[in-house]
Amino acid sequence: MEFEFSEGTIRFDKVPSSLDAFVASFCALLHARRIPYVIVSGYVALVFGRSRMTEDVDIIASEIPEAAFSLLWDDVYRAGYECINVTDKASAYREYLRNGSALRFAARGTFIPNMEFKFAKPGPEEYALKNPLTLVLNGAPLAISEFELQIAYKLFLGSEKDIEDARFLFRLFRPHVRINLLKTHLAGLGVGAKRAGGHLGESL
């Protein structure tokens, strides 16, 4: 695997999957509207080659005013996507996003994959949004969760799939993982270092 990693940015090129194209296309709409966002969870591992399927890509965005959301909603529909769990944009904003629930956007007429889009809540989500890693994939920027938080949060979630995702990222980017920061996140999430080390295959 060839990549360049420096100053909070990781650059690499690859043959894109249709999932990569979907993510790039949707995030370009957020970039165009200057809406801060960060991709978290499974896609952060999948984009670097983790070999499993997913039905959604999780995006956490900064809370924006309703007027700004309305413009984004229109952009999303013009780009050929639709919201699959609510059809009315006022309800989408007031009843879903403002209440901490997620919207799911998919290519029109499809269900999977979809973008799970929500506003950041205080805690790990807000931290992820404020401390993103910039992934420049085939020349296009994507904001993704920093690896240390991603690994710690996956271990906190604790399913076999999540632990495997954490181990994948840890082993792949081991020289670039800031162990003290990882330990800080583990402690903040209440995950013991001994248990974490067991899952990651290395004492912490």
Partner: protein
């Protein structure tokens, strides 16, 4: 049919340990494989 829950739990744990070992092997392969090769193989998998 009667199952032995203790034995099943052991099997589950062993399977998971083997999954983690597989991930380590897979990561080693990814590290030494050019992007165009592994991503070409995965592009139809990540639909």
């Amino acid at each position: 049919m009667k199952f032995d829950p203790v034995e099943l739990k052991k099997q589950k744990k062993r399977n998971f340990t083997e999954r983690l070992a597989f991930i380590d092997q897979y990561v080693d392969w990814l590290k030494r494989t050019p992007n165009r090769v592994w991503s070409e193989q995965l592009k139809d998998f990540h639909k």
